[in-house]
Subunit: 424 residues, 2 copies
């Protein structure tokens, strides 16, 4: 069997998706796959979205395999005759399919567990390649399929994200690392930052790290957070030593913005800090309407540190349930330092938690004024040592304003817990 000794390795992605080409769904698989495989030296050369038709699929796979020796397909592994990916892969690679008793057993077991009957159609999902293998799928009936003739590799993954994503991280990556001998050639370091712009991270990284020929720096920005990844190729120990040095320099320049050194959401990172400190949090939300609480409770086990909160969308609720003074609302308005402070302190007191955090702002598109334009948001975190309010002047649409407000609110509590200078 041929192994691949290149330092980096090109591959193609083939997405089966009529619903994408009909404008009914945004593809996210290309992003997930490229981003997850990138650190392992796997470079996507081309991504193609095609319709679910046998001939189109077969020729597309053939063309892709002529260009790159590795092809990853997504979708088209369902139980019906409309799902042609597995047959198209078989035709394009010349590798036959055969019913696999182990997979039949897995599918039967899955149906038993769900208390449903397995249909004869589902037996098609038990077909696996005669050369290659399969990835068991814990979240669906179709296993991932590996067609591997020793020279060319084609891997078929099921379409639903909650099936595809675990297969990529838990099975495809270990498999390809082994198969392509790519493991340990790359060392990387990821830092997660928040409340700082991508271009500022970029500029700081350039200033701190200077020009290093073999260092690859990549940035991925999402609303309010940035992931900075450094990658080096070479001997593991040496690389890791250098990465530690780079990290040290980055922390000196950007320390207060760095909330984690691994892939983790800000709300989960804050949850870990709260749990470690044995402290609790409650929220008082106006313009975000529950989004902050919703984010915090995405994390399983968040009941250990999250008590709940008040969605104080109207001024009446701000007064009655959070104890904001009528005079405060009259004198300073609902979107003000004073109201944010009273909301945070009010929810902390009412819920008896260590921390209370509040958000009140003008999310738009209406409701803005010359003095308080759309995007004006006041946030406050109240704790034992005092209350820390700050103002944001955000740009973007309603969704962006609400989203960024939640990021800053979480970060204010994180900074206070971590002993970092708070937003002010």
């Amino acid at each position: 069997m041929t192994t691949f000794k290149e330092k980096s390795f090109d591959y193609s992605i083939l997405i089966v998706g009529d619903e994408i080409l009909d404008g009914r769904r945004v593809d996210r698989h290309v992003h997930f796959i490229t981003r997850t495989l990138q650190p392992f030296g796997l470079r996507c050369r081309r991504a193609v979205v095609v319709r679910d038709e046998f001939e189109v699929m077969r020729t597309s796979i053939e063309n892709a395999l002529a260009e790159t020796r590795l092809v990853i397909t997504t979708g088209g592994l369902g139980p019906t005759v409309d799902d042609v990916t597995r047959e198209a892969l078989s035709a394009a690679t010349g590798i036959s399919l055969r019913e696999n008793p182990a997979v039949v057993e897995m599918i039967e077991e899955r149906f038993r567990r769900l208390g449903r009957e397995m249909t004869p159609n589902n037996r098609r999902q038990a077909l696996t390649p005669e050369q290659g293998g399969f990835y068991p799928n814990d979240n669906g009936t179709a296993p991932g399929l590996v067609f591997d003739d020793g020279e060319r590799i084609a891997i078929a993954l099921p379409g639903p994200p909650r099936e595809l994503e675990p297969l990529v991280t838990a099975q495809l990556i270990p498999h390809l690392s082994e198969r392509l001998r790519l493991e340990n050639r790359f060392s990387s370091l990821s830092l997660k930052l928040c409340c700082i712009g991508e271009s500022n991270v970029d500029a700081a990284a350039e200033r701190v790290l200077g020009k290093v020929d073999d260092l690859k720096i990549s940035l991925l920005a999402q609303l309010g957070t940035v992931e900075l990844t450094l990658t080096l190729a070479g001997e593991k120990e040496e690389c890791e030593k250098r990465l530690k040095q780079y990290e040290h320099g980055l922390r000196l320049a950007l320390g207060k913005f760095i909330y984690a050194d691994r892939e983790i959401a800000l709300q989960a990172a804050l949850g870990e800090l709260l749990a470690a400190a044995g402290q609790t949090l409650a929220v008082a939300e106006s313009c975000t309407g529950g989004m902050l609480g919703s984010w915090i409770t995405e994390t399983p086990g968040s009941s250990d540190y999250f008590a709940g909160g008040v969605i104080a969308y109207s001024n009446e609720v701000k007064q009655r349930d959070l104890g904001v003074a009528e005079s405060t609302l009259e004198q300073f308005g609902a979107v003000s330092r004073e109201t944010a402070v009273e909301m945070a302190e009010g929810v902390r007191k009412r819920f008896g938690t260590n921390w209370g955090v509040s958000i009140t702002g003008v999310a738009g598109p209406g409701g803005g004024s010359a003095e308080k334009p759309v995007g004006t948001v006041w946030i406050a975190a109240a704790g034992e040592s005092g209350t820390y309010p700050f103002k944001l002047s955000l740009t973007g649409d309603r969704d962006a304003v609400r989203h960024r407000s939640c990021v800053y609110a979480l970060d204010q509590v994180r900074r206070l817990l971590a002993g970092i200078e708070p937003h002010a």
Copy 2:
């Protein structure tokens, strides 16, 4: 010059995007273009993302033009030599580029307006095809380019969404409608449904509509909601009459699940019902932790009908802030009909709203028991006429359980407001 008389017309999309293939950005152009062109009978046959390299681009354009006579590219129209789209299109189509004085003038004017100097590089952006034309770009320096030899059409659009999107709607569509004579050939009808599975909608549509040769039925499912679209080609008045008949049949079979006959989110549709009735709503959320409130407040102007709510993540909050009896929690547990009812009635009373809606459930992955496994959710809506609780047994991960719970909670209020039999 050849015109095209087909009823529908296939095209290809070519996205130039290293940052997409490196996992740094999610492509949204495919979605925008396909979705915007679809109603005009333009059907995307293939979408390809490639790297910004001349040879790759040239062969990709040639291959695409061999397959479909219309190709749309995005990106790679910048002023530097790295931007190769225009030269690749010229090479692939055999149509030369020539500096266009009208475009030079537009670019100069733009730079004057911004108070900046035009660089010599920018003159490359004034090159336009000798056969075809260009689309003036009000939001950037690069015009859209049309290469048209009378048989094959290749259109290059700039990459930034705020440049591309207006060019598509204001220039590409009128241009292609005229050029391809496609306007007004298609009529369609979309129904939005919730709390019903995609396969059930599919089966019902098949039963109601039978086999109609020229009717295209498409379904798009998202967690908890389904969009059903019927499309007919032909004379407008006749098509619309037939679509009305089909809609009538579908409403008889699926009426209670249909919440809108246009593209609108369930929370916005409910908001319209509440606003029309002059009624108000408050929420009491346990396992969803604020998600329901967050959804409702996505809609601008939701303060007209949404007062706020209580995130009652702990039992203590359920008692103190919602008035759930200690004995109820002890006897029936937090996830029970009785607790859901008391939460909904409690928040309605406390907030003085017409409606109170509650969600309490086991979102997982922990917290399940034999009696109340993960996915068990109780929901209740309390109104003037009484309180309507129901139980869900959901599958899927934490996010899916929380998401679907919100859909059902919104739908319970919608059904009660619309006089439809509630979930029970």
